[in-house]
């Protein structure tokens, strides 16, 4: 094998990796790509338009009009040739072009005209935005420019797919890993996400014989907030397994000082640790302010403190406070997104009291709250965690 062959092999490997990283091959059709090819078809007044990806041995179309679905062999495709150079390829008449008129599939299709603009993932040419027709045709410079502009758009959409998948994975990192099975207790929770990935997180686990629950909210929306949220959740989770809950908060704040530093980011959070035998609990409130203990009649006691959010001031310190989750009591922790649905926090509190007074179980309460939010429509992420201790 010549040196040239080796280099080509390596480049092709890298190109295929870049294509794989898009996570687009063999995925279902998507409206945004369908609409794009439809637009391309109209703009160029052609019978065929497609977004194709050039895989190792095949050509696969993410969206196409006028072409049979499925893959076709790479060697027979014009698009594969298009990806060989970093510029558009226009073939006014396939039947007289020796590169293509030997392909029986192509000739049998009756197609004569082809124009394609390579699609990039980073520096690699992974596919093509192409148009084809049954009549001979040339493209003028304006049309070539238009095709390039549209290809840029397709590239952005291909990259966005990857980000949304990453966002979904990130969301999973903001939730508890397992269900709690603890005699005498019911633990449930849910986060209703608004359109973007955000900074809400919640968690629960049993450690040192106690039930731990956490709920928090990183200021901001989007991937940045979500990344910090998953970091906070992980640090709290790790720390609380070995040390007291207030120490876990203090340690988390110390660890985060670098990340939150001089930025305007801060994290509101609530954490509680409950002894399942006695019901005795300790909680830390870091500017969260939305945790309430309800007895079986629904009489509320807000579990608050003067604690500031983590990151509001450097070197801050939190203390834990006591509470008791008696038989029949409910502990509800919600994120501030819930306030969008009530005139005042008190109105929200009253709604929760009524729910508790009706004797709803934890899951039923979570379902009712999230059902309400989903019906009205999420403005911001809304997280709710409920712990109910069964009646004696």
């Amino acid at each position: 094998m010549s040196r040239h062959d080796v280099v080509e092999r390596i480049d092709e490997s890298a190109r295929l990796r870049a294509l794989d990283a898009l996570h687009v091959l063999d995925t279902p059709r998507e409206e945004r790509f369908d609409r794009l090819v439809e637009l391309v078809k109209e703009l160029f007044d052609v019978p065929v338009a497609a977004v194709t990806l050039v895989d190792e041995g095949r050509l696969w179309a993410k969206a196409s009009i006028g072409l049979p679905t499925g893959s076709m062999p790479r060697q027979d495709s014009v698009c594969s040739v298009t990806t060989e150079r970093d510029e558009h390829l226009v073939v006014p008449d396939l039947t007289v072009d020796d590169r293509f008129n030997t392909s029986s599939t192509l000739m049998a299709s009756g197609l004569r005209f082809y124009a394609g603009q390579p699609l990039h993932a980073g520096e690699h040419r992974v596919g093509v935005l192409c148009v084809m027709g049954y009549e001979e045709r040339e493209l003028d410079p304006a049309e070539i420019r238009l095709l390039r502009i549209l290809a840029d758009w397709v590239e952005v959409e291909l990259a966005t797919e990857n980000e949304m998948r990453r966002a979904a994975l990130l969301q999973r990192a903001l939730r508890p890993r397992s269900v709690i099975r603890l005699a005498g207790f019911e633990v449930a929770g849910h986060c209703v996400t608004a359109r973007q990935v955000g900074g809400d997180f919640y968690d629960w686990f049993i450690a040192r014989g106690s039930l731990h629950i956490f709920a928090g909210d990183v200021m901001g929306k989007g991937i940045g907030a979500a990344l910090i949220a998953s970091s906070v959740r992980a640090v709290l989770r790790g720390a609380a397994r070995f040390i007291s809950i207030e120490e876990a908060f203090n340690r988390t704040a110390y660890d985060l000082d670098q990340d939150l530093g001089d930025t305007s980011m801060f994290v509101t959070a609530f954490g509680a640790c409950i002894d399942p035998v006695t019901g005795h609990g300790r909680y830390v409130d870091a500017g969260h302010g939305l945790a309430v203990l309800l007895d079986r009649e629904g009489v509320p006691r807000r579990l608050v403190s003067g604690g500031l959010p983590i990151g509001a001031i450097s070197g801050d310190h939190w203390d834990a406070h006591d509470f008791v989750l008696d038989h029949g009591d409910t502990l509800v922790v919600v994120s501030d997104g819930i306030l969008d649905y009530f005139e005042t926090p008190n109105d929200g509190l009253e709604a929760l009291s009524r729910m508790a007074g009706r004797g709803l179980g934890a899951q039923a309460m979570v379902d009712e709250i999230t059902g309400f939010v989903e019906r009205v429509g999420p403005v911001d992420d809304v997280t709710v965690v409920v712990v109910k201790r069964s009646a004696g």
Binding site: M219, D262, T263, S264, F266, G306, L308, D336, P345
Partner: protein, 111 residues
Amino acid sequence: MMQVHTSTIGDATVLSCDGRLTMVAAPTLRSAIDDAVSDGRVRLVVDLAGTSFVDSSGLGALVAGLKRTRQAGGDLRIASAQEQVRMVLNLTNLDRILEPFDSVGDAVHGW
């Protein structure tokens, strides 16, 4: 689009916010605060009379502003916070460090 108007009272600089202080608007306030501090004006009053709503990004801008002014040997106070703003400051306990004054006059008094 939220606007920030700058004025002075004595040796304090007043930044009046006109509009909702949300994620979109927060950078505008941050810039105004940064500009003032860079200019050596480190006693800032953020007048929120024209701000009906603040979200966590807006709070972040205020907290960052507080940190910046204090690092520069000054301070940041807020004035004329409306109901929703006071509620959020109270909920997060941030009113412990960002004490809401009833008016710009009160905030500047005794500085």
